[in-house]
């Protein structure tokens, strides 16, 4: 039987080129070579798979030339037409983790080749990419290589063969928000009793279903000089120009709208409406200022109460309670607002 083809990605450190001083090492394909951690992977693959090429890239190089590096590496991977792509493991190395996540996600998405990586749960790359590619949970340093490879190799083979991937606890990947069934060793009631005994004793226990968590961000300092401040409007009430030009969907908040209100003094029934499916739209459609108070802010701008109203506003649809999906693009437009010199934001929700 022909062996499954694996392409492996590692950084300059694991390729033994050098440490931080060599982090600007550009992406390089070593066809037919097995380098560094690849040896351990090969051992675990046995007769089933082989590494047909190793791509080496410096961490700084990758992160500073992310578009070019990604494009170059995708070409390299494509040229070897592998069955699966492995990046890392990156352990707790932040930039390496981000590189592994970025390239693994790109290979999977752009080339349609399954990809997997591994890193420590607190590596920033883990949070960024755990929902995009399987990330094997590793220890926080390369001392955990043996353990990492022991999980990474079998998962790699399963992905290459297109087999069903079990639950995170079975396969050893960082939970990715997808619930997968599996059989525990004990029945549920026995697990509940054990969990209760631990909880009563104040010992650590692991819930089988983590409740959605809400973290906090500390408040930013107040606006000192409102008369010269640039204020921006954001709404989760789905206010869009009449006709919904960006086709913002009424329920699932999969993207957001960015709209220019330069010269707009008042939102009217003829010009603006709501795309939100989460409330009775009659009132907002009649007068969108009821959700996005452009008229009042224009008055205040004229009166000098505020410096100016930012010429762009951002709109999403999102139920008050369903916030998770909004996180990603909110971060995106928040950065734009900051870059545009906005001083403060009024966010309205329905």
């Amino acid at each position: 039987m022909e062996k499954l083809r694996v392409v492996h990605y590692i950084n300059q450190f694991f390729a033994q080129i050098g440490g931080e001083e060599k982090a600007d090492y550009p992406a390089e394909l070593r066809k037919g070579e097995v380098v560094g951690p690849g040896m351990a992977l090969m051992q675990k693959f046995g007769d089933e798979a082989e590494i047909v090429g190793t791509i080496v890239c410096g961490d700084s190089y990758f992160n500073e030339n992310i578009d070019k590096a990604t494009a170059d590496i995708l070409e390299m991977v494509k040229s070897l037409s592998p069955d699966v792509f492995v990046a890392g493991p990156a352990f707790n190395a932040g930039r390496y983790g981000v590189a592994c996540g970025t390239i693994a996600a790109a290979v999977q998405e752009k080339l349609g080749i399954p990809a997997v990586t591994g890193m420590y749960v607190e590596n920033p790359g883990a949070d960024m990419f755990k929902n995009k590619v399987y990330i094997v949970s590793t220890k926080n340093s390369a001392a955990g290589m043996r353990d990492a490879v022991a999980k990474l190799a079998p998962l790699t083979l399963k992905l290459a063969k297109g087999e069903r991937i079990g639950a995170s606890v079975e396969e050893g990947y960082i939970p990715n928000g997808v619930r997968v069934n599996f059989f525990e060793k004990e029945r549920g009631s026995a697990r509940a009793v054990k969990m209760l005994i631990k909880k009563l004793a104040g010992k650590p226990f692991e819930t089988e279903f983590p409740m959605p968590v809400f973290d906090r961000v500390a408040p930013n300092p107040a606006v000192k000089d409102m008369a010269h401040a640039k204020i921006a409007l954001v709404t989760s009430g789905g206010i869009v120009p009449k006709g919904n030009p960006d086709h913002i969907e009424s329920s699932s908040a999969s993207h957001y709208g960015e709209y220019d209100i330069e010269g707009v003094m008042d939102l009217t029934a003829e010009t603006y409406e709501t795309a939100h499916g989460g409330y009775d739209p009659v009132y907002a459609n009649a007068d969108a200022d009821r959700v996005l108070p452009v008229d009042v802010l224009r008055d205040m701008e004229k009166e000098g109460k505020i410096g100016s109203l930012h010429h762009l506003y951002y709109a999403t649809v999102g139920n008050g309670t369903a916030v998770a999906s909004a996180k990603k693009f909110a971060a995106e437009f928040a950065k734009k607002l900051k870059d545009d010199g906005v001083d403060a934001v009024i966010l309205t929700s329905t």
């Binding site: 939970p175 029945r187 509940a192 009793v193 209760l196 005994i197 909880k199 226990f205 089988e208």
Partner: protein
């Protein structure tokens, strides 16, 4: 209260002219059982069949599963207030026909669910692929209303189970287990250093096909109350619930409640199993409020340290579950909750219809939306007419090769929320 359970291990079921138990074989007199079933004039006819583990048999649509038991010493009889007269059960001695079950099947409403496969991939998801099943399919008299039909089948199942249990009255059990709880003061004195733990069981109680009965009382008309856990072993709680096959509790689960068993296993060792608290899952919101208030209040009054809360059913019981959990935790009593998930076919949706940070210790019975292929089996007991018309099934349910593509929710007991099975999810 102290109850001795004598298990008679059943190795086989056979039809015979004389009903008896011999060397672990139950000989069933079909004609005699038929007479018992037809005592109810609402039932026109009944057919009996036997399904054994490993056989290529599919039973559907399943209504209830019942374990035959008989009270040989002590007060009351099995299924008090339903079959036996009202009297407090849970003490003395009870014999159990271990390894067999009475399964009632038949169409009560057109969208009914419940599949038991005795072999194949489906078998591992239902506990009742492991029992020797006497299946009874009841036909109603013409024009019978669903209410009356449901009730007739429910009671017929209990009568048959009691008749079979009676065969074990004078059989020497193969195994005896003793379950004993103490009074409040006695327990504190006996186990001064052990945490005081109770089991909070939520009972489905919303209306037709969604009901549970406690000593014959419709649970939706009850306030949260206390049981001695051994009472359930004598059939104090019975099921009238035919919807949501995967996470409803058939009567068998009440008789063999795994939380009760596993808490008893730790009783006197790592914890003091004080009692069982039962509470309902009503449709009316003020009832939910009241029932959860009472449950939390009792947890406090009983000076409990911890409880396990189990749920039954889908959707609005999530609200009861979270209310119970929040309020009990607020009383300073630690909770572990057992639930199941509806995370969508792809596992990506929010699993529960309610959530709270207080629910930090959760055991899950798995994602009921997960899809499974059930291969064609040789024999069907009941009817497949409705199989592609039941929850979790869809138009493409019946595959060209005769197999069924369904969600786990159609399988009886698959994601049971008392923790009856090993299935879980992450």
């Amino acid at each position: 209260m102290k109850l001795e359970i004598g298990n008679i291990f059943i190795k086989d079921i056979q039809f015979a002219s004389e009903a008896r138990i011999e060397d672990g074989v139950v000989y069933v007199d079909k004609a005699a059982l038929e007479k018992i079933v037809l005592e109810d004039e609402n039932i026109k006819s009944v057919t009996f069949d036997i399904a054994k583990p490993g056989e290529s048999v599919r039973i559907t649509p399943v209504k209830d599963v019942i374990e035959p038991r008989v009270k040989v010493e002590g007060r009351g009889g099995i299924f008090p207030g339903v079959i036996a007269k009202v009297d407090t059960v849970g003490s003395g001695k009870t014999h159990v026909l271990k390894g067999m079950a009475v399964v009632t099947a038949g169409r009560i409403v057109g969208f009914q669910e419940g599949v038991i496969d005795m072999t194949g991939p489906g078998a591992q998801y239902t506990p009742f692929s492991q029992t020797l099943n006497l299946v009874m399919v009841c036909e109603p008299v013409d024009g019978l209303k669903q209410h009356d039909y449901e009730k007739a089948v429910r009671l017929a199942g209990f009568r048959v189970a009691v008749a079979l249990g009676e065969l074990g009255r004078n059989v020497t059990p193969d195994e005896t287990k003793v379950y004993e709880t103490c009074g409040i003061k006695e327990g504190i004195e006996k186990y001064p250093d052990l945490p005081r733990v109770a089991y909070v069981q939520m009972l489905q109680s919303q209306g037709l096909l969604h009901d549970t009965y406690v000593y014959g009382v419709d649970a939706k008309q009850t306030l949260s109350t206390i049981l001695c856990p051994t009472e359930t072993m004598d059939g104090a709680i019975v099921s009238g619930n035919c919807v949501s096959a995967c996470d409803k509790n058939p009567t068998y689960v009440h008789e063999n409640n795994p939380v009760v068993e596993d808490l008893f296993a730790q009783h006197g060792k790592t914890l003091n199993f004080v009692c069982q608290i039962i509470t309902n899952e009503n449709v009316y919101l003020a009832d939910k409020q009241r029932s959860s208030d009472w449950t939390a209040k009792m947890c406090r009054m009983l000076d409990l340290d911890g409880v396990i809360v189990s749920q039954e059913g889908f959707g609005n019981p999530d609200t009861d579950l979270i209310m119970n959990c929040k309020k009990i935790e607020a009383e300073g009593v630690k909770t572990v909750i057992i639930t199941d998930e509806y995370a969508g076919r792809d596992g990506k949706s929010q699993s529960l219809a309610d959530a709270d940070a207080a629910a930090d210790a959760v055991v899950t019975g798995g994602n009921a939306n997960e899809v499974i292929i059930l291969p064609k089996l040789d024999k069907v007991i009941g009817t497949l007419d409705y199989i592609n018309k039941i929850a979790g099934a869809s138009e493409e349910t019946l595959q060209p090769d005769g197999s069924l593509k369904v969600e786990l929710q159609v399988i009886t007991g698959a994601t049971n929320e008392t923790g009856f099975l090993r299935l879980s999810a992450r």
